[in-house]
């Protein structure tokens, strides 16, 4: 645990520093724009191009800020043994932080934006690891170009379900049957059991389902 706290603390500190870097980049771009706006009429040939470049800088600051914020939250996950967190937020966090890996596999994860607030009390590191393991196994067994929709909901008995559903299901049946035999799946099962929860794979409808139990509902 000391090791994860150490990793988390250093990462969180660095994300704070990245915020300072982004702030300087934003103000630099902003100051350039201020100067550009002082140029009247067509006195500067490259005015429009400069505006476009400054706009790109601002877009990247916004992007970097969002990634840095989520990485900071991720880095703070070892701070408590048990934490109450919003499942759709956890999902979005892992989707954004794994975006580069998914992009490399040409897979897109999309979360259901209408899930509302679904609180789960659990081990903050394990729950993140479980979500990532589910995404990772799908990244390895889905085909490039496929989109995976992720839906989170809670039923009357407070059982929380995360369902990963592949868009073009006919192409995945065979691959999905292989998942259960993989070491990745065994690792995922080990994590899910440590959370007193369950995982299911359904090759027929191309879904991977996690049934999560909140600590306060066991």
């Amino acid at each position: 645990m000391k090791e994860t706290l150490f990793m988390g603390r250093i990462t969180a500190t660095v994300t704070h520093e990245i915020k300072n870097v982004l702030a300087i980049i934003r103000e630099s771009g902003g100051l350039m724009e201020d100067f550009l706006n002082m140029v009247e009429g067509d006195n500067f040939k490259y005015k429009d191009r400069f505006h476009k470049i400054i706009s790109n800088i601002e877009d990247q600051v916004v992007r970097g800020d969002a990634i840095s914020t989520l990485l900071n939250r991720f880095a703070h996950s070892p701070d408590a043994d048990v934490a109450s967190e919003n499942v759709p937020d956890l999902l979005d966090q892992m989707i954004v932080l794994s975006a580069r890996l998914a992009k490399a596999k040409e897979i897109v994860f999309k979360s259901d934006k209408d899930s509302g607030v679904i609180l789960i009390s659990s081990d903050p590191i394990r729950i993140r690891m479980l979500i990532f393991q589910a995404m990772d196994v799908l990244m390895n067994y889905c085909k490039p170009g496929q989109t995976i929709l992720v839906n989170s909901k809670v039923n009357d008995s407070k059982l929380i379900t995360l369902e990963f559903s592949v868009d073009s299901k006919t192409q995945v049946l065979q691959e999905f049957e292989q998942i259960i035999l993989s070491d990745q799946w065994k690792d995922l099962i080990s994590t899910v059991e440590s959370l007193d929860s369950k995982a299911f794979i359904n090759p027929e409808n191309g879904t991977l389902r996690l049934e999560l139990r909140s600590n306060d509902n066991r």
Binding site: T15, H16, K19, N20, A23, I24, I25, R26, D65, N72
Partner: protein
């Protein structure tokens, strides 16, 4: 009259750039790179709003805020925080800071907060002046 702003942050580049941008928007700006210098400036000069980074080497944001409030209680303070230090921003508000902003902040949002903070300071000063007038009027029996 221009709103007098003091930017306090150990990131020199950030302070310089932001000062220039705020000056271009009509604010009168002073800068300090640490808490001690900030408190000295506030003690010696008239400052309306302080933009205070919470995470600085030496005197941190909260300590600096307490000293500012002890030297010039009516000076408004906006805490500037990273995401990991939002709690410090909130703690600052409990100690009398006007608000907190997350870095990197959009200039329009910052400008709006500075104006609002200045308005609160002005309102507060006006209420004190009115109370003083009322006290004198009552004492003199006018």
């Amino acid at each position: 009259m221009a709103i007098k702003v003091l930017i306090v942050d150990d990131e020199e580049n950030f302070v310089e750039l932001l000062a220039e941008r705020l000056e271009a928007r009509g604010f009168q700006v002073r800068t300090a790179l640490n808490g001690s210098d900030a408190v000295s400036i506030i003690a010696a000069e008239d400052v309306d709003v302080v933009l205070l980074d919470v995470m600085m080497p030496g005197k941190d944001g909260i300590t600096t805020l307490k000293e500012i409030k002890s030297v010039k209680p009516l000076t408004e303070v906006i805490m500037l925080t990273g995401h990991g230090t939002v709690e410090t921003g909130i703690a600052g508000m409990k100690l009398g800071a006007y608000d907190y902003l997350l870095k990197p902040t959009e200039i329009e949002r910052l400008q709006q907060k500075l104006n609002e903070a200045h308005k609160r300071k002005e309102d507060h000063e006006n209420r004190i002046r009115q109370a003083e007038v009322d006290r004198i009027v009552t004492a003199k029996g006018w």
